[in-house]
Subunit: 182 residues, 2 copies
DNA sequence: TCCAAATGGTTGACGTGTCATCTATCCCCT
DNA sequence: AGGGGATAGATGACACGTCAACCATTTGGA
């Protein structure tokens, strides 16, 4: 019954882990701060808005939204309550299933999203994307997908994969229409 | 002049950003969960314990600890209050400066850290480190350092106290104490 | 010497996230 | 039918983080 000596991290591993954690800490703080100052939105607020904005009719089934964002239902429920309070979204009942609910973006929510998107994308670019080479971006994407895939299959074969947050431009140039930040 | 059309993310950029965010979301959740279940500690709890555990006399000046961890003083203060409540740390006054304070690991805190470290490292390995190639680890480290460096200098080149990084295992590679993972 | 500003740290209010629990509905099997 | 179980979602309690305000002490001049 020898106690197995734990396998500490090597210097190389330690360096990567450290860099990753510190990057997240600072990057997240900075981007959140920008978003808050520029648009009076929190990070999660933006995520919800952008995900709804990218939806067909600007509305989604609550559980579908939760799955898509990789959020717990509870978290989403709490957050929607706060956002509804602020007039950014509304909850509607769904006819086909008495239990279900649908969240829809209000006009105000839509306007808020449109107004926030450009600055947010710019923030992400400035503090992150533009600092990295294409090669680095690719490695990051690959590595992230590897980790996500493993975690997703471990913690629940029931999970559906979908897109979630963020940027990119879904057509609709001109001036209005959803800043397709998905 | 003309309103500048925001520069949305390209597919490649979008993919990297997306992967990064999802990875963090799931990875962090999983590691926190493991830590909570294995050792009854939250992520921040562990960070504080391990940082104090690695200190010369198992104690640090509060502000130095905050800088080192890249935490706000307020956050640290709140967290120390909770940890003190649980008997993991104690605050002591400092003679040389009437305003100052020092936090020290209690024996219980030390025991808790020792007990938690192996499982935590294993968790980090299992869900993250062991899934990546050395090359990927290096790219991640490099990229993370680039981003951190930029953010650190932007948000406060003035103070810039010892923060930097440096957390390399203080000769702990051996076996006994000083399990420093983060 | 004296006081304004800086520094170290705490606190309160409030938004956010987690877990456990609860309600209502739906599904399916007998 | 009829009831057990799964599902959709909401909620309450509590941990965590942020911001702004707040002491107390220390420092730097005039």
């Amino acid at each position: 019954m020898t106690v197995q000596e734990p396998q500490w991290l090597t210097d190389r591993e330690q360096r990567a882990w450290q860099a990753y954690r510190r990057m997240f800490l600072l990057l997240n703080a900075q981007i959140s701060r920008d978003l808050q100052h520029d648009s009076k939105l929190s990070d999660p607020d933006y995520d919800v808005l952008s995900n709804l904005g990218a939806a067909p009719d600007r509305r989604r089934r609550v559980s579908e939204l939760a799955d898509r964002m990789l959020w717990s239902r509870s978290r989403l429920s709490h957050h929607l309550a706060r956002m509804e309070q602020r007039g950014l979204v509304v909850r509607e009942g769904v006819a086909t299933d008495g239990r279900g609910a649908v969240v829809a973006l209000t006009d105000q929510g839509m306007r808020t999203l449109d107004a926030a998107a450009p600055a947010h994308v710019a923030s992400v670019r400035r503090h992150f994307i533009d600092l990295l080479s294409p090669a680095q971006l690719d490695v990051l994407a690959e590595l992230g997908e590897t980790v996500v895939e493993r975690l997703a299959q471990e913690s629940g074969p029931a999970s559906a994969s979908g897109a979630a947050d963020s940027k990119s431009a879904p057509g609709a140039a001109g001036s209005k229409s959803a800043p397709g930040t998905d």
